[in-house]
């Protein structure tokens, strides 16, 4: 279980003046801190800004960027925009699932290292197909390059 630092949440809330309309940036900052939205943090925020749990949960689950589940150390986003799709991003995605031993719907790999997200266009269509690892773009991916990338990350973890 992730421990939530309520002082930190307080400082985020203070920055936005406990303003209900700023709930999305507030959650973005919390997520930047924990990589996901811990339930305890959200409930705390709801109480502080006067939203009900139902409403806050409704907002948090509407936007794909928010995750209520813990994420892996490496968040790999595979772009599936039209340009990437036309240049066979599905194959890259498949290779990624295969090498991480994950399947669609999994939040995190068994070793806790990886989270796979399929995103709808990273805006780097010229380099299609692309993926990002913790925000760093890897251009012109192929299944082989994907496998190599994961091996490298695993290797880096071991040493």
């Amino acid at each position: 279980m992730t421990k939530v630092d309520f002082k930190l949440i307080d400082s985020i809330l203070e920055k936005y003046g406990c303003d209900k309309s700023k709930i999305i940036p507030i959650m973005q900052e919390i997520q930047a801190e924990y990589k996901f939205l811990p339930e305890a943090a959200l409930m705390y925020v709801a109480d502080k800004i006067g939203e009900t749990y139902a409403e806050l949960y409704g907002v948090a689950t509407f936007y794909k960027d928010f995750s209520l589940n813990e994420k892996g150390k490496y968040v790999i986003k595979v772009c599936n925009g039209t340009a990437c799709h036309v240049r066979k991003s599905d194959d890259v995605q498949e290779a990624l699932y295969e090498i991480t031993g994950m399947k669609p719907g999994d939040y995190i790999s068994a070793d806790g290292l990886f989270t796979i997200e399929r995103v709808a266009c990273l805006g780097a269509c010229g380099l299609a197909p692309v993926c990002t690892v913790n925000g760093v773009v890897h251009p012109q991916m192929t299944p082989d390059k994907m496998r190599a990338l994961i091996m490298d990350l695993r290797e880096a973890e071991r040493s």
Binding site: E39, T52, Y53, A54, E55, L56, Y57, G58, T61, F62
Partner: protein, 559 residues
């Protein structure tokens, strides 16, 4: 007057909200699952599409009526689209019409029939979330939800409780209390207004009819039933009778036919409430206690105070609700008998109230079972009783007298008017007519007015709907307004619009409102203190009157 042509018929309108309303006023029923006159326009179900002269299709709920407009509501194109929309809804709806409690009142079922949807050509795929049975008042079945969003808007816009909202998105959308919690763990006050607007069986009143049958069929138990004032103007609609003709006499007959042993009218303890509450109020006024004093008869309001305004609890009257008081009377009167005490209420929140620990006295619940108006109607149906043609009968003695003041508890402002009648000693038609003009009557959400009682000028406010209550309290707490006495009823229009009543449009509710005052005017006695039974009641309760008639709710949320 503006005019538009709908299906070739000239329809007049003035300030209509949308084309859907214009059609309705002109007796053309455009189908809709997500529109509700008292809620914001959602535009979600898309069934209300209509076609203009140029063949353009638009939803009637968002279409502004304009002078000279020409539309059709039933073209071949529209019929085809509606069939497909219904088919799509049926794919994600768990249909079990033969056994569903909502059957016969389900809008989806009605429309499927109306548009001849016989075949669903896609694999059925409804929401697999389990049924939420946690609440004492409401049952939520996500597998039947069609995401019309009415419940969410009701809970937010009219009640400002916001206990439910839509979570996730797209086809994974679901109505949820958030974080996988259940209704019982949420801020839900149990008012049942969500269920009242739900077009399908996704939100239903907790059905406890079988409990009632069990008690009736149990020969070692006597069954005592009290019937709340608002029931007499709600139940009639279920049997095709007008709402403005009270049917208390038929209800009593029907209950007798069902096998109930003792039948009472809760209006009596409404009178009792007035005596106790007026005394409490005068006492507070005299002692200079913190005012306003808030009324306490609405259990959803009490729950709201506990959840949101625990600091106001000391200002809430300690009087038990009329239901609770009658429960206490029954227990005292039939102390030697094994009595199953039942209350028929317009209210779903009463189901939870009856189970509260504060309503257990002498190790026994004061009320064993609460049935809503809808459940009573169901029982009458189940017993094959032709309600409309029943003769009238009288409730049982010794609690068979009540005044008009007790009856008007069923409407917003009713408790207040009864208090005023009592405080001013108004017993004549003339004096009551005068009170009726002081500002206490009417279906507005918030009413504020002043009356003169002796040498005191009393400021009074009446609110119905919890969102209105919130607005009023905000004004009070900010110091913008001061009141001596505040009546709050959680349901729009008061108990006549309760979550346990048959669901109704605003026109119907206005009829019910009229009906209550018809019943009031038919009473020979109009002010609570005139009720001749009260002496006997106080004698019966002896020195336990205060203990049995008052409730002390904890004033802070259990941490």
């Amino acid at each position: 007057m503006k005019r538009m042509i709908i299906d070739g018929i000239s329809c007049e309108f003035e300030n209509a909200r949308n084309v859907l309303e214009v059609a309705k006023q002109n007796h053309i029923d455009i189908p809709s699952l997500c529109y509700c006159e008292s809620l914001s326009v959602y535009g979600g179900c898309r069934l209300c599409v209509v076609e203009n002269e140029r063949g353009a299709v638009e939803a009637a709920c968002t279409m502004v009526p304009k002078d000279g407009m020409v539309i059709r509501t039933n073209t071949a194109k529209l019929r085809k689209h509606r069939q497909m929309i219904l088919e799509l809804l049926l794919v994600s709806h768990r249909s079990e019409c033969t056994t569903c409690d909502k059957s016969g009142k389900c809008k989806l079922q009605e429309y499927a029939k109306r548009y001849g949807v016989k075949d669903v050509r896609f694999p059925i795929n409804y929401c697999k979330e389990p049924i939420d049975n946690s609440s004492d008042c409401i049952v939520r079945d996500p597998s039947k939800c069609i995401l019309c969003g009415k419940c969410v808007r009701m809970c937010a816009e009219i009640q400002n409780v916001r206990a439910i909202d839509i979570a996730n998105r797209g086809s994974s959308s679901i109505v949820s209390c958030g974080f996988g919690r259940k209704l019982a763990d949420s801020d839900c006050v149990g008012c049942g207004q969500c269920a009242a607007v739900c077009p399908t069986g996704a939100l239903m009143i907790k059905n406890e009819v079988s409990e009632m049958w069990k008690a009736i069929y149990n020969s070692s138990k006597s069954v005592a039933v009290q019937v709340a004032p608002a029931v007499r103007v709600g139940i009639a609609e279920e049997f095709g009778l007008p709402a403005d003709v009270p049917v208390m006499g038929k209800i009593v007959t029907a209950l007798r036919m069902l096998g109930v042993d003792y039948i009472f009218d809760t209006s009596l303890t409404a009178d009792l409430t007035i005596m106790e509450e007026s005394a409490e109020f005068m006492e507070k006024l005299k002692n200079g206690d913190k005012l306003p004093m808030f009324t306490s008869c609405c259990p959803a309001w009490i729950k709201r105070v506990e959840n949101k305004y625990p600091h106001l609890m000391p200002q809430v009257s300690t009087c038990g609700s009329p239901m609770e008081m009658f429960g206490a009377l029954i227990r005292q009167q039939y102390a030697d008998e094994d009595v199953f005490s039942v209350a028929v209420m317009p209210c779903t929140a009463k189901k939870a109230e009856a189970k509260r620990p504060e309503l257990i006295k002498d190790d026994e619940r004061l009320v064993d079972l609460v049935l809503t108006t809808q459940e009573l109607a169901r029982m009458i149906d189940e017993a094959g009783i032709d309600f409309a043609h029943l003769p009238d009968s009288e409730p049982d003695s010794p609690f068979n007298t009540y005044t008009g003041a007790g009856v008007i508890f069923g409407v917003t402002g009713g408790v207040t008017e009864a208090v005023i009648r009592h405080v001013l000693g108004a017993t004549t038609d003339e004096s009551i007519c005068k009170i009726a003009e002081c500002g206490v009557r009417g279906l507005e959400g918030i009413k504020a007015f002043e009356i003169t009682a002796g040498d005191v000028q009393l400021k009074i406010a009446v609110a119905n709907g919890l969102a209105n209550a919130d607005k009023l309290i905000e004004k009070i707490e900010s110091g913008e307004e001061f009141f001596h006495f505040v009546e709050i009823m959680a349901c729009p229009n008061g108990c006549i619009g309760g979550g346990g009543q048959p669901s109704a449009c605003q026109v119907r509710k206005a009829e019910r409102y009229e009906g209550i005052f018809v019943a009031d005017s038919e009473c020979s006695l109009r002010s609570s203190e005139q009720n001749p039974a009260l002496d006997g009641v106080y004698k019966l309760l002896r020195n336990r009157a205060h203990d049995l008639l008052h409730v002390h709710y904890p004033d802070h949320k259990a941490e």
